[in-house]
């Protein structure tokens, strides 16, 4: 369904140039849930932004549904974008619209359905995420977990083949995380949706994924089923799963030597 080949991306100019992704290869199969995990700044969001066409790769290919999309623009990219839905970390609901209008927006714009049918569809989508009855609320009246569920309802409004999830469980309580996890699994299994989840929530990724890709500083350091990841011997993978503050991924992010810096300051 989705295939990424030798994806490379760097930001900045000259000496400031930082390589964010290096030779990223991945294959996300139809109807399966693939999670991309990694710490902050590991490049996982960058992968997602490439998939949705917000970034253009420096080199490499992205195949979605049998088409190489990385160089698409204008109408072509809009055609591809109608095949997928995305749930943003912040939900990205339109604050001025009610829940109903938010979910109905893609249908109103991209289909010829009449208003009555659209409202029925909206109700069905809201029932799927368990929030039927919230139609007339504004996003500001919703809790964090509800916003994400509405965002998910909007993402699946046009019955996409692919749904991308950007940090679906960030900032939620354990029960809400459980709800979102269940929704992601239900959608994939019942509707055959290909899901790509970018997350740093390890327990949740372990529960829902068919395949996990672990990134560290723009490189894949582990790839496989949750079971394979759990049994990995790589110290970096173990540190990430156990959440140890220090290990091969260092605690201190500082570039300079601490003692040197203090000496420098006392001299001045």
């Amino acid at each position: 369904m989705i295939q990424i080949k030798n994806l490379k991306k760097s930001f900045g100019e000259g000496d400031q140039r930082i390589t964010v992704l290096e030779d990223f290869n991945a294959h996300m199969e139809k109807g399966q849930i693939t999670s991309i995990i990694g710490g902050s700044g590991s490049g996982k969001s960058t992968v997602l932004k490439h998939l949705i066409g917000a970034y253009r790769p420096d080199s490499g290919e992205i195949w979605i549904d049998g088409e190489e999309v990385s160089q698409f623009k204008g109408e072509e990219i809009n055609r591809i974008r109608k095949k997928f839905g995305i749930m943003f970390q912040s939900g990205a609901l339109f604050n001025s619209l009610t829940v109903e209008d938010n979910v109905a927006l893609p249908m109103r714009e991209h289909t010829d359905l009449n208003e009555g049918t659209i409202l029925i569809m909206v109700k069905m989508k809201l029932e799927m995420v368990g929030l039927r009855g919230a139609e007339h609320l504004k996003p500001a009246q919703l809790s964090g977990g509800m916003i994400k569920r509405i965002a998910l309802a909007r993402a699946i409004a046009l019955d996409p083949k692919i749904v991308f999830y950007d940090e679906p469980s960030a900032g939620l309580d354990p029960i809400s995380i459980g709800v979102i996890d269940k929704l992601i699994m239900d959608l994939s299994k019942k509707m055959g949706i290909t899901s790509v989840v970018v997350t740093h929530e390890i327990p949740s990724a372990m529960r829902i994924s068919d395949k996990i890709i672990m990134l560290f500083k723009g490189k894949i350091i582990a790839e496989g089923t949750p079971e394979e990841i759990r049994n990995s011997n790589d110290p970096k993978v173990i540190q990430f799963i156990e959440g140890s503050p220090d290990g091969p991924i260092p605690f201190s992010k500082s570039q300079t030597d601490y003692g040197e810096e203090l000496k420098e300051m006392s001299r001045a």
Binding site: I52, G53, A54, N78, R79, R81, K82, F84, I86, F88, Q89, S90, A92, L93, F94, N95, L105, P106, E109, H110
Partner: protein, 138 residues
């Protein structure tokens, strides 16, 4: 809107953010700014009337007659044309600054300030150009 991913959300839904976010504001301001101008014009005349009749002892009827005599249609029309031009400038600058935003809440404040300053300067410049145009050409 850009800071909280809503613009990106529109793009990903294959919807044109310009159509959704700028067009309504453009139409709104294009209608409302001339309306505001008319209101301001009326308020100006009313203010002059009040001061003139209460403190300067001008006869109310004379004030109204003389005001209407002194005012020609060109004054009103040029004012309205200018207000439409200002509307275009304000929407363009405001929307541009909203769309080029990078970063968080801090940049929202900074870009808002820049938008206000830039559109104010451009409005003054446009005012100069159009006033001289109307004065010398028409």
């Amino acid at each position: 809107m850009k800071v909280s991913d809503e613009v990106l959300a529109l793009e990903i839904m294959a919807l044109n953010p310009v159509k959704f976010l700028i067009t309504p504001r453009f139409i709104a301001l294009l209608i409302m700014l001339p309306c505001l101008t008319i209101m301001a014009d009326l308020m100006g005349i009313l203010g002059g009337f009040l001061i003139g009749t209460t403190t300067l002892g001008i006869d109310p009827v004379t004030y109204v007659n003389n005001s209407l005599d002194a005012m020609v249609m060109k004054d009103v029309v040029t004012g309205l044309i200018k207000s439409a031009v200002f509307a275009v400038i304000i929407v363009m600058v405001g929307s541009y600054m909203a769309f080029v935003i990078e970063g968080g809440a801090e940049m929202v404040g900074q870009n808002t300030r820049t938008a206000v300053v830039v559109s104010m300067i451009l409005v003054i410049i446009a005012d100069l150009i159009f006033t001289s145009l109307f004065f010398f050409v028409l």
